[in-house]
């Protein structure tokens, strides 16, 4: 049988001789068979000795306790120990209670709350933490600039008026018009080259008979002139260069 809320008080009354014969018998049966109950009695004995020495028992209680428990060798031993301990504590008083740290205050506050409230609090904390984690990994909305480029049959930018854009957005969406005879591919390979000759390759899915759109992060596009060449990737895996180039300038 588990310890009930009434048990400590019942044990106290047992030790103070306030129970009937039948109640005593029940208590003694539990003392012999239940470890937790037995331990509770041991704790209560110490507390009663403490109360007795602090004169916190009534005259009747103190009288009974003296004539019954305290006369036993165990009672005498516990009383001697309690007196020595009282004296020791007085001689070794702790300095005034230190101020609790924020963490200790939180633990104190937490422990003082009922179990249900603590469970709800723990759940709320979990939800908040998961929420913060979730929102931190979902990218914030990006801004887009758009530019439509026509295919230029020349492979050199010189003499061609390239489209210009002041890029303040996060991404530049380029729409590249396909030349009329181009056969649509299942995807396209876009090769971006800057004026220093550095290249970056992007692959975008097709098919669209008229144009191909590619999103290029602004970080890949510092100020300068750019040329794009495009290849169509067929279903059988072959790559076919689309004639002409696309030119633009980032200002």
């Amino acid at each position: 049988m588990a310890l009930s809320n009434h048990d400590p008080e019942t044990i106290r009354r047992y030790l103070l001789g306030q129970l009937t014969d039948d109640e005593q018998s029940t208590i003694e049966q539990r003392l012999l068979t239940e470890d937790e109950f037995f331990e509770e009695m041991e704790v209560t004995k110490d507390e009663l000795v403490e109360d007795y020495l602090a004169k916190q028992l009534t005259k009747e209680e103190a009288g009974w306790f003296e004539q019954n428990f305290l006369v036993s060798p165990e009672g005498k031993q516990r009383q001697g120990f309690a007196k020595a301990l009282n004296r020791y504590v007085i001689d070794h008083r702790l300095p005034a209670q230190q101020k609790l740290t924020l963490a200790q205050r939180f633990v104190a506050f937490w422990n003082s709350q009922p179990g249900l409230l603590r469970a709800a609090g723990a759940m709320a904390i979990v939800v908040i933490v998961v929420g913060i984690f979730w929102f931190s990994r979902v990218p914030s909305p990006k801004s887009f600039a758009t530019l439509t480029l026509q295919n230029s049959p020349s492979t050199r930018s010189a003499g061609i008026e390239s489209s210009k854009v002041k890029l303040r957005e996060d991404v530049l969406t380029l729409t590249l018009s396909l030349p009329a005879p181009a056969t649509p591919g299942v995807s396209y390979r876009i090769e971006l080259m800057n004026d220093k000759g550095e290249t970056k390759t992007y692959e975008v899915p097709g098919p669209n008979a008229q144009s191909v759109s590619v999103e290029i992060p602004a970080a890949h596009l510092p100020r300068g002139q750019y040329a794009i060449t495009m290849s169509a990737i067929r279903a059988n895996g072959t790559v076919q260069r689309i004639p002409g180039s696309y030119y633009f300038t980032i200002e």
Binding site: Q24, S25, Q29, L31, L32, V71, F81, L94, Q104, S112
Partner: protein, 221 residues
Amino acid sequence: MCLTTKFRRLTVPIFESKLFFNVVPESFRSLIHEMNKKSPTQEAFDELLAWLDPDREKAAEKYERIRLRLIKIFACHGCSEPERLADETIDRVMSKTEWLVENYVGDPTLYFCGVARNVVKEDVRGRVNPATPPPMPEVVEGNGGQREYDCLDQCMQKLPENHRHIVLAYYQDEGRAKIVGRSKLAAELGITLRALRLRTYHIRLQLRACMEVCLRQSPTA
């Protein structure tokens, strides 16, 4: 029928009568009980253990636990010799083991409880006899003996620092402040008040055991 059995049959009702308790002095009563008691044999003891549990080790553990707890129960009733009464209870049960094995149904531990209650009643009846006034409690004057204090001091030094802190903090305050102080200590340790109560009890147990050894070793004044 052997002579001792005849003697027991004849005398037991007399010994258990109220007259016997009121008239015969305690010292003589104890002597008669001792004479009347069937001295426990190894065979009887083995039977008792077997009744407690078929596994001898478990039975021995049960036996020790029952004996210790009987001592505690007798101490709660103001018996001046709880150990002797615990042994008396066990002897009485042991003398009936043969019958118990065949007839008793239930947890053997509970049978000890019933016998112990009779033993307590007999002891209490003996105490109310004017011929044997109840023993006065041995009051330890002042704040406890110096030997106890010195031993406790030594034992406290042996405790781990955090245990020492718990004991000092637990007993720091008095009256109403004590409840507040203990709640704060429990919060500081991140445990419930009940857990703190048990933790302090276990530290006290350690201290008492240490003190007992120390007192046995230190010379009396």
